[in-house]
Symmetry: none
């Protein structure tokens, strides 16, 4: 899917921006760059340096005279733009654009173009009006001019996320094994605000553990051991429990300790008990 998304730069004046665009694209798995009437040398030393290893994309990028020819084979053309100009045009957010891509690109022949204008003046009205829709990256209204490559980075990031989500959806009941799919799954699952903290941690943090989580029984044995030790330390008086054990339970349960962690915590308790016994002997 990503290989059929074309990034079109029109009239770019800084070679560094062309290079940084290639880097941003390659980082996100895109490869199809087209240049329209560039005002700088796309294969200059500065462009290649900023491409930082992604210069293959620069060397393959065709140069066109106008937008028309650069997007002739594309079924959907979206122009990056500040909010609507003289004539209001269909606007789409970067996220909504991403969500739309899998459907737009479902047909293996389909291509989509994302079009970026000049550093100083953006896209002309004529160019904007060749686009099916305009995409606006939400910015600080007091300071809205994004660097060109930064804008490409944000939109290609949304393309990649949409592609990852789509793959995860496609690949049947997500079997939450590796970190990769766990992360993608957590991207997809809508966050229900105010879910129990434990499940939220699991969903949000998509933890890739190196040891299996401790069982309930392991945890209970730990809490017994902890209480015994705290009594020996005279830190805890079961006749005046206040909320001590409840607070400690809440803390450790929230952390969802794994088996190795519980072994470490119990090892610390045993070492502590030994010290108490040594002090008591004399």
């Amino acid at each position: 899917m990503l290989e059929r998304i074309r990034i079109v730069l029109i009239g770019t004046s800084h070679p560094g921006n062309i290079g940084a665009t290639a880097r941003a694209m390659h980082n996100m798995g895109l490869a199809d760059l087209a240049l329209v009437a560039p005002r700088s040398e796309s294969r200059s030393a500065e462009a290649i340096s900023r491409a930082s290893g992604a210069d293959k994309i620069l060397h393959h990028a065709p140069v066109y005279d106008d937008l028309e020819s650069a997007v002739a084979d594309c079924r959907l053309v979206v122009g990056a733009s500040a909010r609507s100009r003289t004539l209001p045009w269909p606007m789409i957010t970067p996220r909504a654009l991403g969500e739309r891509l899998p459907a737009e690109l479902a047909d293996a022949e389909a291509r989509v173009a994302l079009v970026f204008g000049r550093e100083d003046t953006g896209l002309t009205n004529a160019e904007l009006q060749r686009c099916h829709a305009h995409v606006h990256i939400p910015t600080n209204p007091d300071y809205s001019s994004l660097n060109l490559a930064a804008a490409v980075q944000v939109l290609t990031y949304e393309c990649r996320l949409a592609w990852l989500d789509h793959q995860a959806t496609d690949s049947a009941p997500a079997t939450q094994g590796d970190a990769e799919s766990a992360e993608e799954a957590s991207d997809q699952s809508p966050k229900e605000p105010g879910q129990a903290a434990s499940s939220e941690h699991e969903a949000v943090f998509g933890i890739a553990w190196d040891h299996p989580p401790a069982s309930h029984a392991d945890l209970e044995r730990y809490f017994e051991h902890l209480e015994r030790t705290l009594i020996a330390l005279k830190f805890h008086d079961p006749d005046k429990p206040r909320q001590l054990m409840a607070r400690l339970r809440r803390l450790y349960l929230r952390a969802r300790p794994d088996q190795m962690e519980i072994n470490i915590l119990r090892g610390i308790l045993s070492a502590t008990e030994k010290q108490v016994a040594r002090g008591d002997q004399e």
Copy 2:
């Protein structure tokens, strides 16, 4: 909310990246930049040129010697990182991080830090282990090294989207307290420690939170105290550290202890030290 998100750059070697970071931040409405041991001049001509009008952020950015001091007042510290290193750590996606921010920053005192490492070597293991979680921007596995400012752009974009979403939700039928009015209420009511925060935290974590979360500095003091105690117990040999402290850090950072819990944990350590001293005396 956005003004309480700090971008921390560690050991940046290219002034252009510092400037481009300032521009990315300003575009997305962030302003709090902190530099840790920069390896380049953050106010050089190149930095200012790439900041492209956002150089106010550069001029206000404090310089610290280490990560520790740059994030001491932050309640949540998230490091930008490739997927887990030797010791897996809680991972969060950029989107999930954004979704979490309004809750994390609901308390008007709360600050969040997003930490970015060196262009060549990223964050050290010690730095990564000071973070509650690591955020990974999904990239092409064959070419995963994002430009530093591009990574800042993506994460600050997610911050802005989350803020916009949160505002949109808030401006719906005025239900219970937005952060603003909760704050006013707590200003007026007599200060029972933790009480005003209570309902806010409840909403935030979905559990009955009665005390505000511990700060980074509180946590670091706890970890120092813990290590000292484990050495006294002869449970930990700093010359053969294995991964003991890293594993314990990961466990406690994951649990996000509140101030009362940290007081309890430190109380247990002090009681343990007293026992060790008693045993040593005889």
